[in-house]
C-alpha cells in the first residue's frame, strides 16, 4: 500500500508538448482523492471520472486517501487527456497493475465513467513531444491512433478501455462480463469509424484545388502568396464571403513536403484547433503567445 505509482503524460503548452510525470500515493487516511500540480477545472474533474472508470472496470481503488501529483507542479495543465495516466498510476500505487510497466510508458486519453478511453485533442503534438523526450512507448485512445502514428520513433499502442490498458500492464482481470456495445471497441475493430472521424480533413472532398474556386480573386491571390512564401494568413470576412470554401483549395495546391513539414503543418493546422470542431482552418503555425486562443474566434469574431 505504501508504494508510489508513476507514469508520464504530456501537457500541451501552446503548440508544443511538455512531459509531465504523474505520481500517485495511497495513504492510511479516510477516502479522499487529491489532485495537485496546477490542474485546470476539466482536469480537476478527473477525480470523479477516474474513480468511476476504475470501479466500472473491475479495478476498484482502495477506500483510502489517494494523492496524485502532476510534476513539474508549477506548469499549468489543461484538459482531460491526463485521465488514463492518473488512473493507471493510482492502480500501480495500489498494486493492481505492474509498477514498472506503467512507469515506462506515456499515457494519453480521457476516461468515460464506464472505463472507455475517449479521444483527446492535441494527440499529435503530445506524441511528438513524447518522442522528442526519448519515450519508447505511448498509449493513446484508439480513435486517435491514426494521428499518433504519424510520428516515427515511438511505439504507439491504441487502447479502447481502461480495462484493456490495465491488462496490458499486467492486471489480472476476468473477461468482460457484458459485451454490450464496447465489445468491438475493446478489440479495436469497432473504433474504425471513429478513426476516420477524427481526421476528417485528411482526404475528403475538402482537399480541393484553387482551380475549383470561382471568383474571389483577392482571396485566391492571398492564398497563393501565403502558400508560396510560407506566410501566415488570416481570412476575415462576413459569413458567406468564401473563407471556408477558399482555404481547402489552398491545401490541395501545396507541393509535396518533406517528412517533418507535413507533420508541423498538421500540428499547427489541426491538433490545437481540434478542441473546437469546425475551426481548423489556421493556415500556418501561430507564433505569437496571444494567438493561442485565436482559433475559437478565428472565423466568427475576427480576433487576430
Amino acid at each position: 500500500m505504501s508504494r508510489v505509482g508513476r507514469t508520464r503524460s504530456i501537457a500541451l503548452v501552446g503548440m508544443s508538448g511538455a512531459v509531465v510525470e504523474v505520481e500517485a500515493d495511497i495513504g492510511s487516511q479516510l477516502p479522499a482523492f487529491h489532485l495537485i500540480g496546477l490542474p485546470d477545472a476539466a482536469l480537476g474533474e478527473a477525480r470523479e471520472r477516474v474513480r468511476s472508470a476504475c470501479a466500472n472496470s473491475g479495478l476498484a481503488l482502495p477506500a483510502r486517501k489517494l494523492t496524485v501529483n502532476l510534476s513539474p507542479a508549477a506548469l499549468p495543465k489543461h484538459g482531460s487527456g491526463f485521465d488514463l495516466a492518473i488512473a493507471l498510476t493510482a492502480l500501480a500505487a495500489c498494486g493492481e497493475v505492474n509498477v514498472d510497466s506503467v512507469a515506462a510508458a506515456v499515457h494519453l486519453g480521457e476516461l468515460g465513467l464506464d472505463g472507455r478511453v475517449r479521444p483527446t485533442p492535441g494527440v499529435l503534438p503530445a506524441v511528438l513531444a513524447a518522442a522528442a523526450a526519448g519515450c519508447a512507448r505511448v498509449y493513446v485512445p484508439t480513435a486517435n491512433v491514426a494521428e499518433a502514428s504519424l510520428v516515427s520513433g515511438i511505439e504507439v499502442v491504441p487502447v479502447a478501455s481502461l480495462r484493456e490498458a490495465a491488462q496490458r500492464h499486467g492486471a489480472t482481470l476476468e473477461d468482460e462480463p457484458d459485451p454490450g456495445d464496447d465489445a468491438g471497441a475493446v478489440e479495436g475493430a469497432g473504433a474504425r469509424p471513429e478513426v476516420a472521424a477524427s481526421i476528417p480533413r485528411e482526404n475528403g472532398p475538402e482537399v480541393g484545388d484553387l482551380a475549383d474556386i470561382v471568383g474571389n480573386m483577392a482571396a485566391v491571390d492571398a492564398l497563393i502568396l501565403a502558400a508560396a512564401g510560407g506566410h501566415h494568413l488570416l481570412l476575415l470576412g462576413p459569413p458567406g464571403a468564401g473563407r471556408v470554401c477558399s482555404h481547402p483549395g489552398c491545401r490541395g495546391s501545396f507541393p509535396t513536403c518533406v517528412r517533418h513539414r507535413p507533420l508541423m503543418w498538421r500540428v499547427s493546422a489541426r491538433s490545437p484547433a481540434s478542441r473546437w470542431p469546425g475551426a481548423s482552418h489556421i493556415v500556418r503555425r501561430l507564433k505569437h503567445r496571444t494567438t493561442r486562443r485565436a482559433p475559437s474566434h478565428w472565423w466568427g469574431a475576427g480576433v487576430a
Binding site: S28, Q29, L30, P31, A63, R64
Partner: protein
C-alpha cells in the same frame, strides 16, 4: 431497536474485541452528550482514542469509511475532548475509524485507520 441499530451494535462489539486484541483498553461505549455520540472510547499506553465504528452489510452505499466526512471527524475531535473533560482524563487524544464489512453470508472484515483527520 431497528435493524440498523442492531447491526451497528454488533459491529461495535466486533470492533471492541478487535481493539482489545491489539492492546487497547476500552474505557467507554456509546457515550452521549449534546454534541453527539462516541461509539467507543479506548486508551493505549500514551493516549486516549475515540473510535468511530461504521458497519455495513453490503457495498451498495459505498465503503463504510466514505460515510465519515471531514465535518464528522471535526465533531469527533470535539467530542473526545468533551469526554476527557467529563471523565477528568488528561493526555493526548486521537480519533480512529473502524469499518466493519459484515455480509450476512460471510465472515466480517474489519479495517482500522489510526489518527484520522
Amino acid at each position: 431497536m431497528t435493524h440498523n441499530h442492531t447491526l451497528g451494535a454488533a459491529g461495535e462489539d466486533l470492533a471492541a474485541t478487535f481493539l482489545q486484541q491489539r492492546g487497547y483498553t476500552i474505557l467507554d461505549r456509546n457515550w452521549r452528550c449534546s454534541v453527539g455520540e462516541l461509539d467507543l472510547v479506548a486508551c493505549t499506553a500514551d493516549r486516549i482514542v475515540a473510535v468511530e465504528v461504521k458497519t455495513r452489510q453490503t457495498g451498495v452505499c459505498g465503503h463504510p469509511f466514505e460515510a465519515i466526512t471531514p465535518a464528522k471527524v471535526a465533531r469527533l475531535y470535539r467530542l473526545v475532548r468533551l469526554w476527557c473533560e467529563a471523565a477528568e482524563a488528561h493526555g493526548p487524544v486521537q480519533v480512529d475509524a473502524i469499518a466493519v464489512s459484515a455480509p450476512p453470508d460471510a465472515p466480517a472484515v474489519i479495517e482500522h485507520l489510526q489518527a484520522i483527520g
